[in-house]
């Protein structure tokens, strides 16, 4: 004790105390700090959320609010989940070009990494549907299983989707300028996400009423319908009697009228006028 107190005024005493304090803090931290692996994950996740928040502030916050709480120009994003962000941004629907009855699909301006960061931020606002992985939405490669999925998917498509998207997935009109878009060339992932989240005026088909497997079957059917070759003739949008009737009246009858005029033209009688 005497020895310690004797050196109390030594110029290095403060340094020793500081070292002791640091060692104690470090030891305590090492003892109680969370495991290193978990720590690394959460920091990557929080990094993605931070980056996503910055992207969100630039691209989305003017309508959806700085914290995604929603404004008079855009709905709240609390609880929409990462699947909705992935669908809306990756298909170019968001950020919306202009307000209106329908926000159409257009060129996507974000990279998938940026979309994932925004999705992480929006997912952190509240629990919601998670963006699917390829295993969930990709139909089977095996031809026999695939054919089975297409058959089942066709039945499900006609029950749940055909009323708006047309039996061949070519899309159709809704009320007041809204429409159900064509499913031609749409990514399997985006078809799956649309069913999961119900974008714009489309109703959602959650796993509780349409299990994952059935969604995959519908994707398989839509893929198959897109690839189906045309046995001949003009498909006319596969829209059925409306376009076919219009085509018949305008082009069919029009051609007949032109032929009738040609037959009667340039005779002596026709020259009178």
């Amino acid at each position: 004790m005497k020895k310690l107190s004797a050196r109390r005024r030594h110029p290095l005493a403060a340094v020793v105390v500081l070292l002791l304090a640091l060692a104690a803090t470090g030891g305590l931290y090492a003892a109680f700090a969370p495991a290193e692996k978990a720590q690394a994950d959460s920091s990557a996740q929080s990094l993605a959320i931070d980056e996503g928040k910055k992207l969100f502030a630039v691209g989305c916050s003017s309508c959806h609010g700085l914290n995604g709480q929603g404004t008079s120009d855009g709905p709240s994003l609390v609880g929409v989940g990462s699947a909705a962000v992935d669908f809306q941004v990756a298909t170019g629907r968001m950020p919306a070009q202009q307000p209106g009855a329908q926000v159409p699909s257009k060129k996507n301006i974000y990279s998938q990494a940026e979309i994932d960061q925004m999705a992480a931020f929006v997912a952190s606002l509240g629990p919601g549907p998670v963006a699917p992985n390829a295993k969930q939405y990709q139909p089977s490669d095996d031809p026999v299983t695939n054919a089975e999925q297409v058959a089942k998917g066709g039945e499900l498509f006609r029950t749940n989707c055909a009323q708006c998207h047309n039996f061949a997935g070519k899309g159709g009109a809704l009320t007041n300028g809204k429409y159900a878009p064509s499913l031609e060339g749409v990514d399997a992932k985006h078809i799956y996400e649309a069913m999961q989240t119900g974008p714009q005026n489309m109703p959602s088909f959650p796993d509780t009423t349409m299990p994952e497997e059935q969604k995959r079957e519908i994707v398989a059917f839509v893929r198959n319908a897109n690839d189906e070759p045309n046995p001949g003739g003009l498909a006319l949008g596969s829209l059925g009697p409306v376009t076919e009737g219009l085509f018949g009246w305008i082009f069919g009858l029009g051609t007949l009228i032109v032929i009738a005029i040609w037959v009667a033209a340039h005779t002596t009688k026709a020259k009178k006028s």
Binding site: T159, G172, G198, N201, M202, T208, T209, V263, K271
Partner: protein, 351 residues
């Protein structure tokens, strides 16, 4: 009208208007203009060759039709610009047959226009009615016939004849009975009427064939349902589902505008008939943001948040709504039928 005549104008204004005896004289037939082929033998020869060429093209196209039928594989697909990928066989058959028929027609028309006789034959029009002699004769014969039959004098015969003629069409009306028995109460009830509060019927998801719990139905989703026990393999499935089909949506209770409709539902879950009240099409173009359901046939639009009120289109009634609740296991069930008939109106419909 007469004041519009030139003479009337001239008289009223006191000025002279040049008038002719006949303002629109019959111009007569125009002078005959010979066709080029009539006066130029070389042109006629050329037209003859053109007509023959069209007929020869038709022959070649028919040969092409038979050749393509025999040689092209039915599964072969080719890319043709505006059509995309099409079956080579279908395209070849349609094209060759079309060309063959068109060339025969075009050749015949060209022949008639350039080489066949070009005489103009005026045909005078005559008055439509018969001349007075014929008319008088017919009227005279009718009078004689009437007098000889004593139609006007023997009233009993006349009246019984009228009676028998009036009754004969009734046979036709009676035959309409063969169109089928009257629907009785079949249109007024669906198979949901087997449900009672003591023995409710579960709502079964059309996709999964499983009963549903309220938490399965999320806001903004659309689900189709049928009564439990109605299997797709059943013989009369199509007839029964045509009345029983349900469209289940969940709307935030704050958004519900109709108190009775909210009461029939369960925590905002509403079960509406899927059958349009106009002509009975299945409707399910549901817009989850506006809560409008649209019928694809004639664009009847129903506001599902307001008791499925008709807001546009020809439908005459709101969609019937089924009263739903949950049973002790927590599944969605119906305890009775729709309170009004589903589908289109009919004469005996209560309202």
């Amino acid at each position: 009208m007469s004041e519009n005549l030139p003479e009337a104008h001239a008289a009223s204004h006191g000025t002279d208007v040049a008038t002719h005896g006949e303002p629109f004289a019959d111009p007569g037939l125009p002078a005959h203009e010979p066709r080029r082929t009539d006066i130029d033998e070389r042109a006629a020869k050329r037209a003859e060759r053109q007509v023959s060429l069209l007929f020869v093209v038709s022959m070649l196209a028919t040969v092409g039709f038979i050749a393509s039928y025999a040689s092209i594989d039915a599964d072969k697909l080719v890319y043709i610009f505006p059509l995309g990928h099409v079956s080579a066989l279908n395209f070849a058959l349609g094209m060759t047959l079309g060309v063959a028929l068109f060339c025969i027609g075009a050749g015949a028309v060209h022949w008639a226009r350039t080489l066949m006789s070009d005489h103009e034959l005026p045909a005078e029009r005559h008055a439509i009615e018969a001349d007075d002699d014929v008319r008088n004769d017919v009227i005279e014969q009718f009078r004689t016939g009437a007098a000889e039959s004593g139609f006007g004098r023997r009233k009993m015969i006349r009246n019984t004849l009228i009676g028998s003629m009036a009754l004969v069409p009734l046979s036709g009306v009676v035959l309409l009975r063969d169109l089928g028995p009257l629907p009785e109460q079949k249109l007024a009830h669906t198979n949901w009427d087997e449900a009672t509060p003591a023995k409710p019927i579960k709502l079964v998801n059309m996709n999964t064939d499983q009963p549903m719990k309220p938490e399965d139905v999320v806001q903004g989703s659309l689900t189709f349902a049928k009564p439990e026990g109605l299997e797709e393999s059943a013989e009369d499935f199509q007839q029964r589902i045509a009345k029983d089909a349900l469209m289940i949506v969940r709307i935030a209770p704050a958004d519900l505008k109709d108190a009775k409709s909210a009461e029939l539902g369960f925590e905002g879950i509403l079960a509406y008939s899927k059958i349009c009240t106009h002509v009975g099409c299945p409707i399910s173009l549901y817009e989850q943001q506006t809560h409008h359901a649209l019928c694809p046939c004639h664009q009847s639009t129903f506001d599902l948040a307001d008791g499925a009120r008709v807001i546009f289109g020809p439908a005459g009634h709101p969609l019937p709504q089924l009263k739903i609740t949950t049973d002790e296991q927590g599944y969605l069930v119906a305890t009775g039928d729709f309170d009004e008939p589903v589908g289109p109106s009919y004469w005996e419909r209560p309202r």
